[in-house]
């Protein structure tokens, strides 16, 4: 190949526009790819105050005008946004003389833009499926959901390779869309480990959240049903009967008020602190102060908070489900407990809090694992290998334009 591999990535969110996990994923991934000498363009939606063209950490970013068309509902807005994205990205690719080797789509939110461009320029398409409509809704129940489900299936059909972030998602995508297994590639989500290595006055920071004699139990996640904060709340009295602790619950969502009410009913308001959303600065320090970090999700395609805890050397208790099952090995890099079972969760938390030597081993093993498998640099190298593989297959084939 005469020049460096050039990739155009499509995502409906990229910082400063942050809706969910795709935004940080694309940010770190594109940045690490650029460091590994891939020429990366990111095409994304606009955001107030953010420039339409800029270079961020070596990545060319194009923010399209995405609110041009009125739309009756979210899905129609997505398809119209894709129309505008196709138009602006087509002009971008033309300005590069069509010399783009890979188009990379993140979720159905950019499906129709990337599929159209794939055929127009005849550039191989790679799709990362972060989550599915089937998983988010626990089944398909309406025409609206089925339309999104079929759009996701269409994206996996059109993609040269489909990337998922966990083996759990690989098997889910294989089953729900009928994707052949040789098209599926597992490349995990990553964490920027260096971000979590901070030095600060722990005692002073910790005082804001817990008494010196209390252990600090940390939960980080949206307060929605599938993240399982309610399971943790039910486990609190069971833990407190064995060990003195303060429960810090970070995040917000529709379950915040019901949870507050439940804690009040239990007479435990002095033991539970709901912080709401916190900034990154605070979050990193909280991870570093935690005596145990709890991820009690009921549904979890990946489980990025688990990686953040591992990178911060906070001992982990996770429910044995989805991506979490793969990240943590029981009694080696954390403690696994039964899903949606507060007795089991209380057992896991107590086990770590009452055995500091064991906790020490777990967090050291976890840190080694996160360094080995979940560092963005290593992940971007794996992705670059996939890009090269697809590019070589493409060059050997007859689909490329003459």
């Amino acid at each position: 190949m005469g020049r460096t591999l050039r990739v155009v990535m499509f995502s409906w969110e990229y910082p400063p526009r942050v809706v969910g996990g795709i935004s940080p994923h694309v940010y770190y991934l594109s940045k690490s790819l650029a460091k590994n000498s891939v020429d990366v363009y990111v095409v994304t939606c606009d955001f107030p105050g953010a420039p339409s063209r800029e270079i961020v950490d070596g990545v060319h970013v194009l923010r399209i005008d995405s609110y041009k068309n009125p739309a009756p509902d979210f899905a129609t807005w997505i398809y119209l946004m894709n129309m505008n994205m196709r138009k602006e990205a087509a002009a971008l690719i033309r300005s590069l003389n069509g010399e783009v080797d890979i188009l990379h789509a993140h979720d159905w939110l950019v499906a129709s833009a990337t599929i159209g461009l794939k055929h127009i320029f005849r550039i191989p398409l790679i799709a990362t499926i972060h989550s599915t409509e089937f998983g988010r809704r626990n089944g398909i129940h309406t025409d609206y959901e089925r339309m999104i489900h079929e759009t996701e299936r269409w994206l996996t059909y059109e993609a040269w390779k489909v990337v998922c972030c966990s083996n759990y998602m690989i098997s889910h995508v294989a089953w729900v869309f009928g994707v052949p297994s040789d098209k599926l590639v597992m490349i995990p989500n990553g964490v920027n480990i260096a971000d979590f290595q901070i030095s600060f006055n722990k005692e002073e920071f910790r005082r804001r959240y817990a008494l010196p004699e209390e252990k600090l139990v940390l939960f980080v996640g949206r307060l929605v049903y599938e993240k399982g904060a309610q399971v943790l709340v039910e486990a609190i009295p069971k833990v407190l009967s064995k060990v003195n602790a303060k429960f810090v619950i970070v995040g917000d969502g529709y379950m915040r008020n019901p949870l507050l009410k439940r804690v009040h009913e239990m007479g435990l308001t002095h033991k539970v602190l709901f912080t709401g959303f916190v900034d990154d600065w605070t979050l990193k320090r909280l991870y570093n102060c935690a005596d145990v970090c709890v991820v009690p999700s009921l549904y979890e395609p990946f489980g990025i908070t688990a990686l953040e805890a591992m990178a911060s050397k906070a001992p982990l208790v996770v429910s044995d489900t989805g991506g979490l099952s793969e990240i943590v090995e029981h009694d080696h890099s954390g403690v696994k407990v039964y899903v949606n079972n507060s007795d089991s969760l209380a057992w896991g938390i107590t086990r770590i809090l009452l055995d500091p030597a064991h906790a020490e081993t777990l967090k050291e093993n976890a840190f080694q694992k996160v360094m080995r498998e979940y560092d963005w640099n290593g992940i971007s190298v794996r992705l670059r290998q996939l890009y090269s593989l697809v590019h070589e297959e493409y060059l050997r084939g007859s689909w490329k334009p003459k």
């Binding site: 119209l80 127009i120 339309m147």
Partner: protein
């Protein structure tokens, strides 16, 4: 000259009178030695074929089967239109002179192809959403109007069938008057005028590409 005509209806699929108009247009163009590819929708007669009258039809179906309305159906069908149009483009040594888009449905595909390959397109108007929905301004109608507006903005010429429609489009979409051409289908000079506009468009005489 090689022309792609985009129309959401074409025989045997007849929804309104546009199907017959497009069929007639394609026939007359072929008689005048124009290479004509009609890109249209059909649920199962898919693919490109040369018909007995030498018109090449390229029919696509929608890869997403379930929809909540005509708008999402149209928006996902456009990628198949782009796919088959690109296939024609690559199979004909990248020599496509222009695209003639009939009504709003395939404007998104025409716009993408224009941006990708610098192929001009003409927006031919049979009807507009303002009249079809009797001035309704729900987000659904506004969406379709915004696609029609995109067609008026990105096209190099707009062909309408009456002076009345010309005035309506100027009134409704604020289009400069010289961008719109009135060609009455029943008139003597109809196909001659269409060809003249096609020629001007390929030479970028309008200056709007």
């Amino acid at each position: 000259m090689r022309v792609l005509i985009f129309s959401w209806e074409y025989p045997p699929r007849i929804v309104g009178k546009l199907a017959h108009y497009v069929n007639n247009l394609a026939k007359e163009l072929v008689k005048r030695k124009i290479g004509v590819y009609v890109v249209t929708f059909h649920d199962y007669l898919t693919g490109c074929r040369r018909e007995a009258n030498n018109i090449i039809t390229c029919r696509v179906s929608n890869p997403v089967r379930t929809h909540i309305g005509v708008l999402t159906w149209v928006l996902t069908l456009n990628q198949e239109v782009e796919r088959i149009a690109a296939e024609v483009y690559y199979n004909s040594k990248r020599q496509i002179s222009l695209i003639d888009v009939q009504d709003w449905h395939f404007i998104p595909a025409a716009v993408t192809i224009k941006k990708a390959f610098n192929i001009p397109f003409i927006y031919s108007v049979e009807s507009i959403e303002e009249h079809r929905s009797h001035g309704a301004n729900s987000p659904f109608n506004l969406s379709i109007k915004s696609i029609e507006w995109l067609g008026t903005f990105e096209s190099c010429r707009i062909i309408v069938k009456s002076e009345w429609m010309k005035n309506e489009i100027i009134r409704f979409y604020n289009v400069p008057t010289e961008k719109i051409v009135v060609i009455q289908p029943k008139s003597q000079e109809w196909i001659g005028r269409i060809l003249q506009i096609y020629n001007e468009a390929t030479k970028d005489v309008g200056g709007y590409i």
